[in-house]
Amino acid sequence: MSPEALPPSRRSFLRTSTGAALGLGLGAATAGCGFLPEDPNAHGDPDDPIDVRVDGNLIYFNWADFVDPAVFKGFEKEYGVKVIQSNFDSMEGMAAKLNAGNRYDLIFPTAKWAQRLTEGRRLRRIDHTRLKNAESVFGAYDYFADPWYDARSAHTVPFTMYKTGIGWRKDRVGELTGSWEDLWHRRAKGKVFVLDDRDEVLGLGALKLGLDVSTADEKDLDRITDTLQSLRPHLRGFSSDSYNNLLNGNAVMTQAWSGDMAAMLGQAKDPSVLGFEVAKEGAPVNSDCYAIPSDARHPGTAMLFIDYMLRPENVKKNIEYIGYPMPVGGSEDTYAALVEPFPQCLVGADDLKDELFFRNGSSKGERARDTAWTHVKAG
């Protein structure tokens, strides 16, 4: 098991290790630049069409280890440019860097953040007709032709898709029932982890109760908090490092992102002791997108890179490297082969429902959800 062969789950290690980011966050705060009101059109009209041509090196900003390094090398070689990488460990971290005035050519927001950035006029318009390979996405996956977070996908191209479910040790717990209720399983008592993520944890409570995943209603939130309090005796921790917890035995059951579970398949000595299920009450779905910030210095290179990433051979390499499926026609077999032991990791067209995405709320709503999350976490 060579550490290079398999990427760590993108949200796992880095998210638990925000220590390093603290320095940067404080740096931004003391510099104060995050607070300057910025003219959204300071760098030109974000609606201007982008010429698809090399206009400099690519300044790339994504989750750590989320593209096969061989794909980067191929791009650098073919177009004679360098890919200058930096990584974020959460959407909030990404937004903080953008707000602090850092300029990137290509970023990868989730659906919810794509909507926020679009509405804040922080993203350049992407003309799909200029991308040779865009048809493999928009032609094959109707959902992304006009998603809720970005009308007609005018500013984004979907990159990956995933669901949230339950990963567990079959050898320790046995078979499950396919419900969020399974987290309360008596044989997993004291060895259950949930993700260290506000929306995901409140979302599982909401789905179990048959509520909206993004609810900000105070009464709903109270019911959710009560439900999650009853999970506390079973709970060992909040951690987004799902697969390490399962592999090292600290968890026998954990809330998990499908892609992380798929990535774990290659690391487990005996994958047959592991299972991944998606609850019948519903599983939150999400999608990461390609997006070009409005202040990008090299938007042309970014367009070329998106097109290059959508080539079938690169899609295949990336899927095998990161374990997340991509909404690209023709890539389904590759992913199905990869997650053969965990068929529920597959994300199909019928999984993509607006009401299963985490949505943006009003500022009052977000505050109510924050308070609920504090109560869940602090007990």
Partner: protein
């Protein structure tokens, strides 16, 4: 740099100068060491010297103002702010965040953090004292080597060390496996995700801050005091409690402050070694900054934590001042 060229016409510059009866003319000072030259003949600072010291203070003052006071003011101001939809913190005059502090959840977490930090301090003191004592008084020519052996591992990033420590403490990790083999633990015993696990992490993380000041205090201590204690027929224990311990009290106090403050605000240990019932105030602040992107609420929490620590620090300072006063008497 003769005194005679003083711009104020030779009047004494400060209290150090006044009251000295003999005018310090070149070469006429009886106490000046011979052969050092006339320019060295002044016990008090000259005008040029004072000016130099003023200049030398500038970088430190700027540093303190810029990185301590200004950032503190910024944090305090932000506690009254709001955020825009993109998470940009906005200054304002909004008391929601302050009102939120009344939530009992914060009080419970704050008390827990205080408890963990205090416990960490006590354990660090108990563990570090013998170590520092052994090195300072019995280290001989290996002293520096031993101190290096303690300090060098701390060159590694704090997070990496803590992550490694969490592996050591994990259910299938070496520590529990060894305890199980020796019959001290059964299959259900766990250290991770327990209070002791978090405190173990904090102790591991900060103990060097206790060892170093204790070592410095013990090293500085006059060994003849111990000998004097023995000469007065004090046994080793008596000598230790009545001579060594009081003589190193300042070092212990400094160590306690150095351990307590970071332990109180730490979030890595509770994150890696703690479970849902071990959340510390640092974790909540971290959440507000990095997950909720609610910097204003994070700032308000930071101010709350600092207020609690401030009260403690005042107590400590008054106490040490009293100690010093007694020592002088």
């Amino acid at each position: 740099m003769a005194q005679r060229t003083r711009p104020d016409g030779g009047k004494p510059l400060d209290r150090a100068d006044s009251g000295k009866p003999a005018p310090r003319t070149d070469g006429a000072e009886p106490l000046s060491r011979p052969g050092r030259g006339a320019s060295r003949s002044r016990p008090g600072p000259s005008a040029a010297g004072t000016r130099l010291w003023t200049w030398l203070m500038i970088p430190g003052t700027l540093w303190m103002t810029g990185f301590l006071i200004a950032s503190l003011v910024l944090v305090a101001a932000l506690a009254f702010g709001t955020t825009d939809p993109l998470g940009n913190p906005q200054f304002g005059l909004n008391f929601d965040n302050i009102a939120a502090m009344a939530d009992p959840a914060y009080r419970a977490v704050l008390l827990r953090s205080l408890g963990y930090a205090l416990l960490t301090c006590v354990i660090c003191l108990l563990v570090a004292y013998p170590v520092a004592y052994a090195i300072a008084l019995h280290g001989g020519r290996y002293k520096n080597l031993l101190i290096a052996a303690i300090v060098v591992p701390f060159f590694a990033n704090y997070l990496v060390r803590m992550y490694g420590w969490s592996v050591v403490l994990s259910d299938d990790g070496p520590l529990l496996r060894a305890l199980r083999a020796m019959g001290f633990a059964d299959g259900d015993t766990k250290i991770l995700q327990t209070g002791p696990g978090v405190v173990a992490g904090l102790v591991y993380g900060f103990i060097v801050f206790m060892i170093i000041p204790l070592y410095a205090a013990l090293e500085r201590m006059d060994v003849s005091l111990i000998e004097a204690g023995r000469d007065l027929y004090g046994g080793p224990l008596r000598t230790f409690f009545f001579v060594t311990l009081p003589a190193t009290r300042q070092g212990a106090a400094a160590g306690c402050v150095l351990v307590f403050l970071p332990a109180m605000g730490d979030f890595v240990s509770a994150q890696l070694m703690g479970g849902p019932d071990q959340i510390m105030i640092g974790n909540l602040i971290q959440d507000k900054f990095f997950q909720g992107q609610n910097w204003p609420l994070g700032s308000a929490l930071t101010m709350l934590m600092m207020a609690v620590l401030f009260v403690g620090m005042i107590g400590y300072l008054r106490r040490t001042r009293k100690d010093e006063a007694e020592a002088v008497r």
